[in-house]
């Protein structure tokens, strides 16, 4: 799998750039305290809404906080939310999908109808509803988005399991006497890893976007903790006088989302079992 991804990257320059951008984002998130030049929450009311300068490369916001440092910390919030959401929804969704697809019958119908109901709502609307029940904030955002994205994984994995179940190597494992748990773990799981990985990159992108959206309306990461969404929201009132606030955060969001989408696209090409290469 790693082999085919690296082969794909060699012939796909946009994917290399995307990978680089994603790596930089991850590094910023991980080492935020080291990278940020200032404390993101230190206010200086004498120097509000300052334009980019040598001291504040991206300027300051309405409380005189260093925008660059806030963006660095916003990257951290965004990544925390996105990684947690991706891991939680992928693990739970894959487990449910394998269970439903491998078992079939009533359990399968029940799980799939439930996921149909959830997927009938746009995921952001579903997340909004869930936050209303759980309560806003970082934890609420993570739980709500994880629940909203789980059915997608369950669906994808179940579909793959249904076709893998018919492969002769599953029958072959049965004739050897391998029990069904082991078949699911050893023979089914590795073969759904590809599609799950692709969906992971997509979910990552959507989670970044949704987190920004939820924070923008004030339901996500709550101020003063920095987030792409709440930085854009706070810059909204000063868009004509201090456009750098909303713009810098917006560009940062677009860049990471775009990179993730390019990565997902490349992964899908690399892991497509039906792609013939000479």
């Amino acid at each position: 799998m790693i082999e085919s991804i690296s082969t794909e990257m060699r012939g796909n320059p946009p994917m290399i750039i995307a990978m680089a951008i994603i790596t930089i984002y991850m590094a910023i998130a991980l080492f935020a305290p080291v990278i940020a030049p200032n404390d993101p929450n230190r206010q200086d009311l004498r120097r509000t809404l300052e334009a980019p300068s040598r001291e504040y490369p991206l300027g300051t916001d309405e409380y005189g906080r260093d925008l660059l440092s806030r963006l660095v910390y916003a990257t951290r919030s965004s990544t925390v939310v996105a990684v947690s959401v991706v891991v939680a929804s992928a693990v739970i969704g894959t487990a449910l999908g394998i269970f439903a697809g491998y078992r079939g019958g009533f359990v399968d119908s029940l799980l799939m109808r439930a996921s149909d109901i959830m997927m009938a709502f746009p995921s952001l609307v579903l997340a909004l509803g869930l936050i209303a029940a759980i309560g806003p904030g970082l934890r609420g955002t993570i739980i709500a988005l994880a629940i909203a994205y789980t059915p997608v994984y369950a669906r994808i994995v179940r579909g793959n399991v249904l076709s893998i179940k018919e492969e002769a190597y599953i029958e072959s494992a049965q004739t050897i006497g391998v029990n069904s748990t082991r078949i699911a773990v050893r023979h089914v799981l590795p073969n759904v890893a590809g599609p799950v990985l692709v969906q992971g990159a997509l979910t990552f992108a959507f989670a970044v976007l949704s987190e920004a959206g939820l924070s923008f309306v004030g339901l996500g990461v709550a101020p003063p903790t920095a987030s792409f969404g709440n930085i854009i929201a706070s810059g909204r009132d000063y868009i004509s006088t201090a456009p750098w606030i909303s713009t810098s955060s917006g560009i940062a969001t677009v860049l990471i989302v775009l990179s993730l989408l390019i990565l997902a696209d490349g992964l899908r090409d690399a892991l497509d079992p039906y792609q013939h290469r000479f």
């Binding site: 190597y169 029958e171 072959s172 082991r182």
Partner: protein, 352 residues
């Protein structure tokens, strides 16, 4: 309806006994609601025995039920009725937990070498999996020995299935089947996806395994020449039923059932000087959803005698080849029959 039983050649030591085995699949009609469930008779009252060390062939066209029969014997399908006795144990309805230890002794070799090996596992893990599953102590040397038996170099151990050719993959499938030193190997079209030259390599390998390790084979094939070459006895299947059974060279050299005759005649011969008029059957195999009454072959039979064929299921009559065939033509008094034959209706254990 006459109960269709078969006459078995005397078996000193049967490894596998299949008695009146049927496998029906129920399909629901493709309607939103309502609709009668339809029954697909994939295998219908099949009886035979395989002796220890024997190689037994199942021949038939697609839809004849030969693969379903094999999968039912391996309990990959639940049999609908009948009895399967393997190594003296009735395994027909044995729960999977109790069946698992017995699975060691019956292994399968598949047709499609691409899909029968897990693409995400290395050859080493594929070959060792049976040993791991049954918690048998094993070393790297054991795996190497299995590869060696299957005629594969050890350099392949760290590769993935897609890096091997079709013939090499089939050898991996054989090495995996050999890992548990089984008594019985069910080979479902093991060579039909391979080129002729590779096909010969694999057939030779299987032949060596049979003679040196004394493995019993149940070989499923649509290719008559493969079965005739490899098997001592053969059963010809049509629409889920065995229509003729006997020593393979005799059955294929001097077929008794009109279907076997047509099947043998349909196979092109590799001699351009003996282009001959062949028996070309009209029409196609009827649907197993609504099999014909009486003899399953009567809708296409070129030598149908009359209403008896479409009304009465023919019993098994002994044939000159030393086996039996289920055809009314072989009944005494019809002229075409063998000297003194009478329908032999008895159980599978009976001797002729």
């Amino acid at each position: 309806m006459l109960q269709h039983r078969c006459i078995e050649m005397s078996q000193v030591d049967p490894l596998l006994q299949v008695t009146d085995l049927s496998k029906h699949f129920s399909l629901r009609k493709e309607r939103l609601w309502g609709g009668e469930p339809q029954v697909l008779r994939a295998v219908d009252n099949v009886t035979f025995e395989i002796g220890r060390g024997e190689s037994f062939g199942l021949v038939g066209e697609s839809g004849s039920g030969k693969s379903t029969l094999a999968r039912s014997i391996l309990r990959l399908h639940e049999p609908t009725s009948g009895r399967i006795v393997f190594r003296g144990t009735d395994i027909t309805h044995l729960p999977e937990r109790d069946l698992r230890p017995l699975r060691r002794h019956m292994q399968m070799v598949f047709q499609d070498t691409k899909s029968s090996l897990n693409p995400r596992l290395r050859i080493r893990d594929i070959v060792a999996e049976p040993l791991v599953t049954h918690k048998l102590p094993h070393s790297a040397a054991d795996v190497n020995e299995l590869m060696d038996k299957a005629g594969l170099s050890e350099v392949f151990l760290d590769r993935f299935p897609h890096q091997l050719s079709g013939g090499q993959r089939q050898r991996v499938g054989i090495a995996r089947a050999l890992a548990l030193s089984p008594d019985l190997i069910v080979a479902d079209e093991p060579v039909s996806a391979l080129d002729v030259s590779i096909q010969a390599q694999i057939l030779n390998l299987l032949k060596v395994l049979q003679s040196e390790m004394g493995i019993t084979f149940l070989l499923i094939a649509h290719d008559i020449s493969v079965v005739t070459y490899f098997c001592q006895r053969v059963a010809v299947m049509y629409l889920g039923q065995v229509v003729e059974l006997g020593p393979s060279r005799e059955v294929m050299g001097n077929p008794s059932h009109p279907y076997t005759r047509a099947l043998v005649s349909a196979v092109p011969r590799t001699d351009p000087r003996s282009r001959r008029s062949r028996i070309v059957l009209r029409g196609e195999i009827p649907s197993p959803l609504s099999p014909p009454t009486g003899c399953p072959f009567h809708t296409r039979c070129p030598v149908k005698i009359g209403p008896i064929c479409s009304e009465v299921a023919p019993p098994a009559y002994p044939t000159a080849s030393g086996g039996w065939a289920a055809c009314h033509l072989l009944a005494p008094g019809t002229g075409a029959s063998n000297s003194a034959s009478s329908p032999l209706i008895q159980t599978g254990e009976g001797k002729v």
